[in-house]
């Protein structure tokens, strides 16, 4: 029986549980012996001109090795040139030209937390003390906070750009589209700004020696990091080694290499000392990119019997102070705007604005949760307007089973799906009718604690850059063990376990004898890494294909050794041995075959690409209890189908769903990065930022569903699905709990204050 699909425990865990991982700050390598510490001097103001930087006191402080500002960046090329694209969304991001972002602030700061200088000392504590001695003169400017202020344009972040709107895209409104509708509902909703908060923040260490730069960085992508370093530092990629050691979570915010890590790498070369930087949490909450931050206007129309005929989504994306990946995210939101529904007319448009806040980039889902949140809210608004059960409206409008592959009016082709089955499975699993009956009873009794039932059906896109592919190299050694070199990159997902499972399944080499190596550009020069739920369907398939390749090579060798015809040979994967069919006595082990392979050994390298992304789907049901006196909402149950094709490791897939659901619930109920009107972050510590805890969550009820994709493993991505489904399901549940009072919408996070205000407002207007 194949090991695939079975409940294998992780190979990573014994080390992580007994001696702990080796994250950047844990590195005790000879190359980093005596490494200096780096601390950043960051802007305390949101928007200001810099009129002077005085580093003299800092430079004279005891133990200081160097204090560096933008004035010291003389050995670097200029910022990226204007590519003349004028902010078309196809342009590579971050945008160059007038939107260019310096590595260290030059004459202007645009958000609280922007790096202005660095201090390098021998000692960690001394470093933070010295950073306080750097004196920067700021001449404050009016801060631009929020979409309205940005669009008004009375203060510009980039005067040379002559606008705060960096990118626009999508379809103009087609007024005729809603003409045939009995009912049209429109409303503005906010998909709030979130902080990713990987438990390990940003960290980097660097050493320049013998004309070669080595950078250890907490990243999801060692090879991309090397590419970026080469470009910024003007070095040949061969002169750079990037290592991703253990990475303490990323969630999209560690895609590539962060600007502050680039500064550390540059400083190590510039000063000629190995050095190490690990940010504090307070730095992380303003310095690491944030996610989401869209204001959306949804307009939905259809017939009174529940058929949705037209849907429009208008997005204003707050990109923060610099249009990094935030300039691109609404493209993904528009791409998935139609959701899992078969709607004749769907249109979406977006504008990206800059504001004096931390830059926005990917956070678990990156543009797709925003699309799902918008349409799932819109469907519930429509259902409420026509007085129909929201489950029924979904069933009527979901893409039906016979229509796959389905061409969305927004462009993508949904590969495979069973959307109505997923909905029905969740309704049955949750006991939907019984829950509705209990809800009716509580309403009738006038209970203080009211039940809310929320649904979200979704389709998402994974491996959106499938044509970029992923690499794998597999070597079978003379002792019968194997090593996998993967271009994919683990930061908690369990790649090492899954890749070893794939090798054992194909070759019969036991997982315990398979070593998986990732995240070292000297060993793996080409690769892409991990984001957009791409690992298994690209990196995993690459490992699988490398194993198939090795197997075919081994068949020839074994045939030669056994003097038999290739066609008569078989691999007994139970024993991990080659034999003439039906004759176990004739067997040759992997060790023997590998040794016979000669000097070149037994190895295969694969760069696997796919022509199309995949489209996982599912339905989430959240059951919440709302205290109508205090406004406090509590999640009681969360029931989901998350169909990501064929499951290789149920244990790992469930883990991804659990974590994703928690982050989605956190957005719906708790988490928000808040700024005041002057651009001061009000949630810049974990005391203020309401990261979700165990006490605020129930155990989750996961239902199984596997609709295969077309790739050799049948796999789609699973990393972000939980987040995409959970946030709107939970938000819809909260609103459903108080809808009988006349409440039609509450923005996320649905805090007690907001829920209480919505209840009070609805009661007053009655």
């Amino acid at each position: 029986m194949s090991i695939l699909g079975t409940r294998v425990v992780r190979t990573e865990d014994p080390r992580l549980l007994t001696v702990g991982g080796t994250y950047v700050d844990d590195l005790r390598l000879p190359e980093l012996a005596g490494a200096a510490r780096v601390a950043f001097v960051r802007s305390p103001v949101a928007h200001a001109l810099i009129t002077g930087i005085d580093v003299s006191a800092a430079r004279e402080a005891p133990g200081v090795i160097a204090v560096l500002t933008a004035a010291d960046l003389t050995d670097l090329g200029p910022p990226p040139p204007d590519d003349g694209s004028g902010g078309s969304e196809a342009a590579p991001l971050p945008l160059g030209g007038p939107w260019a972002e310096p590595l260290l602030a030059v004459d202007r700061v645009r958000y609280v937390g922007e790096a202005v200088a660095i201090v390098i000392t021998d000692d960690r504590y001394q470093c933070e003390d010295t950073a306080e001695l750097v004196s920067v003169d700021y001449e404050p400017l009016l801060a631009v906070v929020g979409a309205d202020a940005a669009l008004a344009g009375s203060m510009l972040l980039f005067p040379a750009a002559e606008s705060n709107v960096a990118v626009t895209g999508g379809a103009p409104a087609d007024g005729a589209a809603f003409g045939g509708c009995d009912v049209v509902v429109q409303r503005t909703i906010v998909n709030q700004r979130l902080a990713p908060v990987p438990l390990e923040g940003r960290a980097a260490a660097a050493q320049w020696a013998d004309g070669r730069l080595t950078v250890w960085v907490s990243t999801q992508n060692a090879q991309i990091s090397r590419f970026v370093l080469a470009g910024v530092l003007g070095l040949d990629p061969g002169a750079i080694r990037v290592v991703a050691p253990d990475v303490g979570g990323g969630f999209g915010a560690k895609v590539g290499i962060d600007r502050d890590a680039l500064v550390v790498a540059w400083a190590a070369k510039h000063v000629g000392r190995a050095m190490s930087w690990t940010e504090t949490r307070s730095e992380n909450l303003v310095g690491m990119t944030h996610g989401r931050a869209q204001r959306q206007v949804v307009k939905i129309g259809g017939t009174r019997d529940g058929r949705i005929l037209a849907y429009r989504l208008e997005i204003v994306q707050d990109a923060g102070a610099y249009p990094r990946m935030g300039g691109f995210l609404p493209f993904l939101t528009r791409l998935m705007a139609a959701g899992p529904y078969d709607i004749p007319h769907v249109e979406a448009a977006s504008s990206v604005v800059v504001t004096n806040t931390t830059p926005i980039a990917a956070y678990r889902g990156a543009g797709r949760p925003e699309a799902t949140a918008a349409i799932e809210r819109a469907v519930d608004l429509f259902a409420a307007e026509i007085g129909m059960d929201p489950a029924e409206v979904r069933r009527i409008n979901l893409v039906p089973p016979g229509k796959f592959p389905y061409s969305s009016p927004c462009g993508p082709v949904y590969d495979s799906g069973a959307y109505t089955e997923a909905l029905d499975q969740v309704l049955a699993g949750a006991g939907y009718q019984e829950l509705r009956a209990e809800q009716a009873l509580r309403r009738e009794r006038g209970d203080v604690l009211q039940l809310g039932i929320g649904l979200a059906s979704y389709v998402e896109i994974t491996a959106a850059d499938a044509e970029g592919g992923e690499t794998a190299r597999l070597v079978v050694h003379g002792d019968g063990t194997a090593t996998v070199y993967t271009g994919s990159s683990a930061h908690g997902q369990g790649h090492h376990t899954a890749w070893a499972m794939l090798v054992e399944a194909e070759l019969g080499i036991e997982m315990a004898n398979v070593t998986v190596i990732h995240g070292d550009t000297d060993l793996i020069p080409t690769g892409t890494g991990t984001y957009a739920s791409r690992s298994l369907q690209l990196g995993g398939v690459a490992v699988h294909k490398a194993a198939v390749d090795v197997k075919e090579q081994a068949r020839l060798i074994a045939a030669d050794m056994l003097e038999a015809s290739e066609a008569d040979l078989e691999l007994d994967t139970e024993r991990g041995a080659w034999q003439v069919r039906g004759d176990p006595a004739s067997s040759r082990t992997w060790a023997e075959v590998a040794r016979h392979a000669g000097d070149d050994g037994l190895a295969a390298a694969v760069n696997y690409t796919e022509g199309q992304p995949t489209f996982p789907f599912g339905t989430h049901l959240a059951l919440v209890e709302v205290d109508t006196e205090t406004g406090k909402a509590r999640l009681l149950r969360h029931v989901t189908v998350d169909d990501a094709g064929t499951v290789v490791s149920p244990v790992l897939a469930e883990g991804q769903r659990h974590g994703g659901i928690a982050q989605g619930v956190a957005q719906a109920l708790l988490e928000e990065m808040v700024y005041d009107d002057a651009g001061n972050p009000l949630t810049s510590t974990l005391v203020d930022y309401a990261a979700i805890t165990a006490a605020e969550l129930p155990s989750f009820e996961l239902l199984a569903s596997e609709t295969p994709a077309a790739n050799p493993l049948g796999a789609k991505g699973i990393g972000e699905a939980g987040t995409i489904g959970a946030a709107p399901a939970t938000q819809n549940a909260v609103i459903d709990a108080v809808s009988y009072l006349g409440v039609t919408h509450i923005d996320m996070p649905a805090t007690p204050e907001r829920i209480w205000a919505a209840i009070s407002g609805a009661r007053e207007s009655q």
Partner: protein, 156 residues
């Protein structure tokens, strides 16, 4: 000042600055890097260790305060390379860790919880671990692991 701490049964003595935090003493003077720093406000619990048997957030204790005390970190839990502590075993069996950064603190908080309450309910586990953040697992499997460890430790 000179600080002497018994860490996982071994004496560690070092001359440190007065303001040295216990977590940095463990990581730098004792050379034990499993205990992580995840925040600067005593909110995340990644640095949880046992100080004379009581769980503390070691970012909120000065090394000087631990002078003469016994500290246990996750490195001191297993009785041998192949003999993980029941809590460690349960975390592995239930897939209660992903990136591993919160794990040493989460495991030590669990050891402390089970010493105080050998048979916690799910709700008690969730409440007891409120001071330990995990961003990967959604806590689902952590809670299962704690309950599994508790049931393994109970005499049948």
């Amino acid at each position: 000042m000179k600080v002497t701490v018994t860490v996982n049964g071994s004496q560690v003595a070092a001359e440190v600055a007065d303001r040295t935090l216990l977590v940095h003493f463990l990581r730098e003077q004792a050379g034990l890097t499993a205990t992580n720093v995840g925040c600067d406000t005593s909110s995340c619990g990644a640095c949880t260790v046992l100080l004379d048997g009581q769980s503390v957030k070691s970012c909120t204790v000065l090394a000087a305060q631990a002078d003469g005390c016994a500290v246990q970190t996750v490195e001191g839990l297993a009785s041998g390379p192949d003999e993980m502590h029941p809590v460690q075993r349960a975390f592995r069996a239930e897939h209660a860790l992903q990136c591993g950064f919160c794990t040493p603190g989460m495991v030590m908080a669990t050891v402390s919880l089970l010493a105080e309450n050998a048979s916690p309910t799910e709700e008690e586990v969730r409440s007891a671990l409120e001071g330990n953040l995990c961003r990967c697992t959604g806590y689902h499997n952590i809670v299962r692991a704690v309950l599994a460890a508790a049931s393994e430790r109970r005499p049948s």
